[in-house]
């Protein structure tokens, strides 16, 4: 948890007032999380087709829930330009790194210590807390709900692959769908 706090601090320090949109800060944050995960002994497991499917389904649910909250009934694709082309892999890397560290390393550690319930609670709260410096306290309810959903996908699938795919899909949809 301290490592995650340090990585988040690094992202804020590098990103300044535009932390949420700063690509270099996001890349540094993601690499720091992946380094932490590797240091903690996390290794890629054998990907499961079912976990991937659950992840895709979870991502579609996230996007669908977002679309229901929009005031506009129409959806358009963002214009393709250099900025969004560069942003897409960066945001995917950040999402995967967050999931590897939270729903991978931390979830496993907390589950071994106190069971799935504690693992779910800890990763959900930490997921929300680490986004507060970027998006403000107002984002806390939304982040808690998203963290709970991603944690639920982790339990249903038994793999970090599902929340990682869902997280990537949701983030990318947020940039590409207008």
């Amino acid at each position: 948890m301290a490592g995650i706090a340090v990585a988040t601090g690094l992202r804020i320090a590098l990103g300044g007032p535009s932390t949420a949109a700063s690509m270099p800060a996001g890349v540094a944050f993601a690499l720091a999380l992946l380094a932490l995960a590797a240091g903690a002994g996390w290794r890629l497991g054998r990907p499961s087709l079912a976990a991937a499917g659950i992840g895709v389904a979870g991502g579609l649910v996230l996007v669908a829930a977002w679309l229901t909250a929009r005031t506009s009934a129409a959806v358009d694709l963002a214009p393709v330009n250099t900025a969004i082309a560069a942003w897409t892999p960066v945001v995917a890397l950040i999402a995967v790194a967050e999931e590897v560290m939270l729903r991978g390393v931390l979830f496993n550690a907390m589950r071994n210590w106190g069971g799935d319930g504690w693992a779910l609670a800890a990763t959900t709260v930490l997921f929300a807390a680490m986004h507060v410096p970027l998006y403000g306290v107002g984002a806390l309810p939304l982040d808690l709900a998203v963290g709970l959903l991603l944690g639920g996908l982790r339990i249903v699938s038994g793999s970090v692959l599902a929340p990682a795919i869902a997280h990537v899909l949701a983030d990318i949809a947020g940039g590409w769908l207008l």
């Binding site: 300044g16 535009s18 679309l67 900025a83 998006y135 309810p141 983030d171």
Partner: protein
């Protein structure tokens, strides 16, 4: 926890998510790098009033530091990012951002959306100070919408000049580089009345949601069936 418990967690989370998004401000993009929250755009003349920003730099022999000045909204409605050495630091300097009334002259490339912001740098005597030659300052402005993406224009007191503009992320923010300060605004391209998306221009949200829900059910059933048959065959 069993897989069934996990499904319950997911359902509770989806309900919570839908409820949270229902009460968010209308301008919130809701998903961006996970979760971007943006307060409603604050217009000049409205309540609350849009904020300005001021940052002072004392005279020093050291080079002008890399700095950012930004207004207090979430996300900031106006900000300027300056690289180290952007100004001569031999005299004390104050960088200001102020929302100002729209000039009588209108941009030729569209209609101003949001506020016009005046970015200025003055010395202790109140005299305007220009950035060093060939230094690029990054101006970030928040627009009121992303479609069509606005262009950031600079007003030099006589005419508006469109700048190459890129999407900057959360909350319809856009950025452009400029070698000079002055008045800047996000301009919706297309003349005085920005084009609205045609009713038939996009895919109806309800259709997408229905399609996604159907895909979700089909994907789960198919993938679990495939996984089970793979396990049996081992």
């Amino acid at each position: 926890m069993t897989r069934r418990h996990g499904v319950v967690v997911v359902l509770v989370a989806v309900a919570a998510l839908a409820a949270v998004w229902r009460v968010l401000p209308a301008a919130s993009p809701a998903i961006y790098d996970g979760n971007c929250i943006a307060d409603p755009y604050v217009s000049l003349g409205g309540s609350p009033a849009p904020q300005g920003a001021t940052m002072s730099f004392p005279a020093t022999a050291a080079p002008f530091p890399a700095s950012e000045v930004f207004t207090g909204e979430t996300p900031p409605q106006a900000q300027v990012l300056m690289e180290g050495g952007s100004f001569d630091n031999a005299v004390a300097l104050t960088i200001r951002i102020d929302p100002v009334a729209e000039p009588a002259v209108k941009p030729s490339n569209g209609a101003i959306e949001g506020n016009v912001y005046k970015f200025s740098a003055v010395n202790a005597a109140g005299v305007a100070v220009a950035p060093r030659p060939n230094v690029l300052l990054t101006i970030v402005l928040r627009g009121t919408k992303s479609v069509p993406p606005p262009i950031i224009d600079r007003f030099n007191g006589t005419t508006w000049t469109p700048l190459t503009t890129q999407n900057s992320g959360c909350g319809n923010t856009f950025l452009a580089s400029s070698t000079q300060l002055g008045e800047f605004a996000a301009v919706a391209p297309g003349g005085a009345s920005p084009p609205q998306p045609a009713p038939s221009g996009g895919i109806p949200g309800a259709l997408i949601i229905g399609g996604l829900a159907a895909l979700l059910v089909i994907a789960i059933v198919v993938l679990f069936t495939l996984d089970r048959s793979r396990n049996r065959s081992r």
